[in-house]
């Protein structure tokens, strides 16, 4: 049996952890939305500024989950935390920026090109935390609870002890990030099943 022990939603204008609001978009701010969260949460990781939007969202949501479940850093060995992420549009948001660099801005940009793969965000999270575990990024037509159930079950049968999962969909001004932590013990936490995961994910992510 597995449990959903922490989760973070990051949308166009709100960010919440375990259902509680942690940030709301300040439209009057000069800072971009993700930067507003970064500053308000007093994160210190200058590499954040170099990341593309997918990695920034993954960074913010995974750091917020770590604050909600700080014990995971010590309770698991460095290769026991699997990363299972998926989305619909792959890295298209950054792909478009890279195309723009060589079509309209003088030359292909190497720092954009290195982010034109959806799994780079997994690398960023692994680098920051020194996590050497399993990684997987899938591109699916829509958020499918079943997909995460299946693959956490598989990875738990092959040595991973916990899984940081994510639906990380960003394209243009649409943002739909939902990260959740699956552990094999979790007193009082919702059990991992399709119904609970769908409920926690929320109706918008299921029907989009």
């Amino acid at each position: 049996m597995s449990f959903i022990t922490a989760y973070c939603h990051l949308r166009e204008n709100v960010c919440s952890v375990n259902g509680e609001l942690v940030a709301t978009l300040d439209k009057s701010s000069e800072d971009a939305w993700f930067k507003q969260i970064y500053k308000a949460q007093e994160f210190v990781y200058p590499k954040f500024y170099k990341m593309d939007t997918l990695s920034q969202a993954g960074y913010l949501a995974s750091e917020l989950i770590k604050r909600a479940a700080p014990y995971i850093v010590n309770d698991y060995a460095d290769d026991e935390i699997a990363l299972i992420f998926a989305n619909k549009s792959s890295s298209a948001d950054t792909d478009l920026r890279f195309i723009n660099s060589y079509e309209h801005n003088g030359a292909p940009s190497p720092s954009l090109f290195v982010y034109t793969l959806p799994n780079i965000v997994l690398g960023e999270i692994a680098i920051l935390n020194k996590w050497y575990g399993e990684n997987m990024f899938a591109v699916l037509p829509k958020f499918t609870p079943d997909f995460f159930l299946t693959h956490t079950q598989i990875l738990f049968s092959t040595g991973s002890k916990t899984a940081l999962c994510g639906w990380l969909e960003i394209l243009g001004d649409k943002i739909h990030a939902f990260l959740f932590l699956i552990e094999q013990a979790g007193t009082g936490k919702p059990e991992l099943n399709i119904e609970n995961l769908s409920n926690i994910a929320g109706p918008e992510i299921i029907h989009n």
Binding site: D78, D79, L83, K88, S89, S90, A92, D95, L96, F98, I99, Y102, A107, P108, S109, P110, F113, V114, Y115, T116, L117, P118, N119, I120, L122, G123, E124, A126, I127, N129, K130, W131, Y132, G133, E134, N135, M136, F137, A138, V139, L140, P141, F147, T150, H151, Q153, I154, S157, T158, G159, L171
Partner: protein
Amino acid sequence: MSYIGAEVIISPLGETTEENWRALSENRSGITKVNAAGYNDENLFLGSIQNHAAESRFTALTIRALSQIAEKIDRNVLSSERTIVILSSTKGALDVNVTDQFQSPAAMLVEEFKLANQPVVISNACISGVLAINVAGNLVKNKIYDHAVVIGCDVISDFVVYGFQSLFAISDQPCKPFDAARNGITLGEGCGAVVVSAEKSIFSESPLHLLTGSSANDANHISGPSRTGEGLFRSIGKTLNANQISGEEIDFISAHGTATVFNDEMEAIAFDRAGLSHIPLNSLKGYFGHTLGAAGVIETVASMQMMRNSTLLKSVGFGETGTSRSLNIITENRQKELNTVLKTASGFGGGNASLIIRSL
């Protein structure tokens, strides 16, 4: 127990597995000089497929590969509810529609082959192919599906060519994996496909065993290979342990070997640390170029063909040791019975993956 078979390669070396094997066994390379392919119209060496449809090349290749697969397995398998198709690719049909790189091509496969389940796309940079075969193996082992068809495909586009040029990562010669004079990759394109199944009887030609492996992140840099080979070392160790195979049992290693200075050095360190530096090894990039998300599947298929033909294939492009730890790189084709083969891959995002194929 998972079986793997019905393998297909479509590449510059040929439209079928047989054509590809003939070329490989004659040490022919699919890499040619293409005029004005670069961002500043430089001539570049590429492993590009000639004469194939100009539009929807990705979709066309995957359909051709799946059509060939259909001829090699029980006719009821493809459309079965117990079958999943897994696509492995980095950029899919990006050249047709940037914001729909995978969904429309996947939908085409569903329509064309009456697939019962929506295909899953695995997009993990250059380890996509090996990872996808491992996912297939795990889905079958855990009885979530009985059969999984893995199709690895990527096509050459201005996007990837300009990108790797911006990283100064493209070789000015056909790539030379593990060689002292290597100076970068040669991009390639193609499609590889295999069927993983719990049932031996669905294959028209006898399959091999898939010993599912694992992945490990380097936790080091998003685009620079680890200096210690940590992730690859860990992935190989986990794969061997999980299958209770000792390094001595490995007859051949199909390495990733992209021919960048740092990648090949990283791999040499990892193989050395794993105690595998004496095992015959090649990189197939000198034949196909680097086919990115297709590479792991194409190279697994080629390794299966090596096993079926009891042949160690020369590592094209290699002449002189160019890594700090020396490896047993195959310099001439030779006959040898191959029972246990290790396939590895490493890529951007710090990913590493490995798997083992065993003869029955």
